[in-house]
């Protein structure tokens, strides 16, 4: 077992473990901080997939933006929230958590089965790319390539996304605006 594999497993364990902790913690604030760990380890995993730019973006956007936003939101909703969070009790009509567990495990099993099937029958394009060696290698300059792609091949989706992002931000600002007349 070389270092690369070890690191991969370590990052995977860290991501999965922290994610499990996120969902199992009762304290939302802690969960939010644990979510950092998860996101970091996910970014690490991206590196193993030879997507360094994506990993960096992940850290910048998620950790620098999303998570801060969440913490802000958490703090904006006042402290009664904390009390509210304490009495988590499965009400009669609500789906008890064991059912959710069951459902999640069910999905997991299904996906695993799907993966197993998929392994036996990989898509044609992957096999042909592997054969022709048309795969990303660790020494490729990904960032440059991505820049070229964005400005050429994916320019339309890129622009659409930007406008969408703008709309989403304006929408979010509008929604969270305090309305006097309420």
């Amino acid at each position: 077992m070389n270092l690369e594999v070890f690191l991969f497993y370590a990052f995977a364990m860290l991501a999965i473990g922290s994610a499990l902790l996120v969902v199992s913690l009762k304290n939302t604030a802690r969960a939010l901080f644990l979510f950092f760990i998860t996101l970091f380890s996910m970014a690490g995993l991206f590196l193993f997939a030879l997507a360094d730019f994506v990993a960096i973006t992940q850290i910048m956007v998620y950790v620098g933006g999303v998570l801060i936003l969440m913490i802000f939101a958490f703090m904006l909703s006042n402290k009664e929230l904390l009390a509210d969070l304490q009495n988590i009790s499965g009400s009669f009509l609500s789906l008890p958590s064991w059912q959710s567990v069951l459902l999640a495990i069910g999905f997991f099993v299904v996906i695993l089965i799907g993966l197993k099937e998929w392994n036996n029958d990989m898509p044609e394009w992957i096999l042909s790319n592997i054969k022709s060696g048309d795969i990303i290698l660790p020494n490729d300059n990904n960032i440059q390539q991505l820049g070229i792609k964005f400005m050429t091949q994916y320019v339309l989706p890129f622009e659409v996304i930007s406008i969408f992002l703008l709309m989403a931000l304006i929408g979010a600002a509008h929604l969270s605006r305090k309305e006097e007349n309420r």
């Binding site: 996906i111 990303i136 600002a173």
Partner: protein
């Protein structure tokens, strides 16, 4: 050797945990976190597959798109949560049952 399957299994784990969070948590912010988890699982898949597509870089490009979208969705989602909180004085979705018959 780290194969594609490794990534996919990890991604499946994260996805299922996100799924569980979305369904089981009694806190809107936690649900949002669950969603983020699921999106991250998807992004991981994109990235993993991207490795085999050097010509298009489709996976990485869309991973980037997805990250941006996830950020946008979080922003909108939090705005909604804040509004809901203002309106209902709670963010426990169990107590927001206006759609009940």
């Amino acid at each position: 050797m780290i194969t594609l399957t490794h990534f996919l299994v990890v991604s499946a784990c994260i996805f299922c945990i996100g799924l569980y969070t979305v369904i089981a948590k009694r806190n809107a912010i936690m649900i949002l976190i669950g969603i983020e988890l699921m999106i991250n699982a998807a992004i991981l898949n994109f990235v993993a597959f991207s490795k085999y597509d050097k010509t298009n870089y489709g996976g990485q490009v869309f991973a980037l798109f997805a990250i941006v979208l996830a950020a946008a969705s979080v922003a909108v989602g939090l705005a909604i949560i804040l509004n809901v909180y203002r309106h209902y004085k709670t963010i426990n979705p169990d107590n927001i049952t206006d759609l009940r018959d």
